[in-house]
Symmetry: C2
Subunit: 261 residues, 2 copies
Amino acid sequence: MAADSERSDKSQVVERTCAILREMGRYGQRGARLIDLTERTGLSRPTVHRILTTLGAESFVQRTNDRRYRLSPVMYELGLAAPSPVGDPEKLRPVIQALANQCGDTVYLAMRTGDFAHYLLRCEGAYPIRTHVVAANQTLHLVSGHSGRALLASMPEDEAEDIITRASRDRHLFGEATPDGLREEIEKVRQKGFGWARDVTFVGVAGLTVPVPNPRGAAYLAITISSIPQRLTPDRAQALVKDMRAAAAEVTRIVSASTAS
Amino acid sequence: MAADSERSDKSQVVERTCAILREMGRYGQRGARLIDLTERTGLSRPTVHRILTTLGAESFVQRTNDRRYRLSPVMYELGLAAPSPVGDPEKLRPVIQALANQCGDTVYLAMRTGDFAHYLLRCEGAYPIRTHVVAANQTLHLVSGHSGRALLASMPEDEAEDIITRASRDRHLFGEATPDGLREEIEKVRQKGFGWARDVTFVGVAGLTVPVPNPRGAAYLAITISSIPQRLTPDRAQALVKDMRAAAAEVTRIVSASTAS
DNA sequence: AAATCAAAGTCAATATGTTGGACTTTCGGA
DNA sequence: TCCGAAAGTCCAACATATTGACTTTGATTT
């Protein structure tokens, strides 16, 4: 190891363990290969292997049958003992439901987790044609959904690029889109502050998405309206984005309030 | 440290880190004091402190303002990247809803997490007087709810005793009950295989609870029917318990199927 | 079916990071 | 203001982690 300039009463092994766990979190339920983790953490293979073996013995990690490592249900349970970054999502439902009532379409609130967007809430509007492509509590890769586009646009460019690059190996994650197409879309989201796309999650469904501003860094929440493309004309989208941003600000307010304890 | 008889390519620090994290999980969002963790893990204070400091720097752990340590939202997010021990709880809803339809009352499915019961599902029956004391996604201390009684009864006695002892410091967790009263109740649950109690979560509300058998060890799920005491007479309870056990068996079946991948 | 290659897994000599007893500081209660 | 309990710090001793080099596994190709 190179000289560590940082003074510390910190444990090197713990740091490395955290790095590995964090990295595994990115790979979700599919799991990461040993070599993925060594490359991404910069640690030597035996080191990663030993830590993984130990985490496995503690059942924090499981080895899948195709020699991948993923976080185990024990980690899920541990997570439940920790406060959610947004507090109780139900506190946010009124805001999202109000938006759904206003626009008549289906509105989602999604939270970023590693390379994925976890859909916390889905609220229905009154418009009779409903798009139910994603359910509450579902998790979609950031490159696979509308909310993911807003979230990717909000994070540092190299981080987003890293996620897209890595996802490119699994072409099916992109559906009708392509990695390069997505890069362009995200660039547009960065410029305009909202995303509009169709046929992303499902052919014949369009989505409008905005990131929820986060005073402490990159957004980890996004609000998305899902509808049929005919209902999301540029004019209407313009108006909706205004409402969405208002709702987003409200969400920020509520989350900040419940987090400051 | 005593001699470690076990050969290993395991990392001591990782083992210790896991022990600390697991222990912190037990304490939930209130957090644990340094001394709690040193006592319960048997590690020296400087060691625990150093590991906690590192976990804090990695933001896996946060220090509350009253000098307690608790798992951070980062852990919550990590947990979302791991598979839930029960797979998607929505797959279990039909079973619980069917039971609710059958009995007419409110039925819960709860999962154990550390010292707590996390309520996954709440299904409504048709009976007009409804008891809505607990919401879905809420978390209650094991000593504070009906499901917790079933879960405590299912675990090794010393583990249950440890949880009750520790909880005894916070008398308010017990509501109208007392630690000793609870111990008796739980002994009854062990003998009869179900729990009946009133005024636990709320005065004027009664609950009937059974553990969901887990082929791989102690139950971590419980089914609970909540109603007014008049509706849970001994005779009716007897009949309901039969239905609940059938539902529990069905839950076991579904969970086992979705876990075997 | 054999060959090939990439990734996983193992080992052990070395040096590095970890350990915990003893000391100091902080905080909450009286 | 004082007091005790818990938190936090330091450093010499040494147990533990580290990684280069080696072996094994399993998937893919010929």
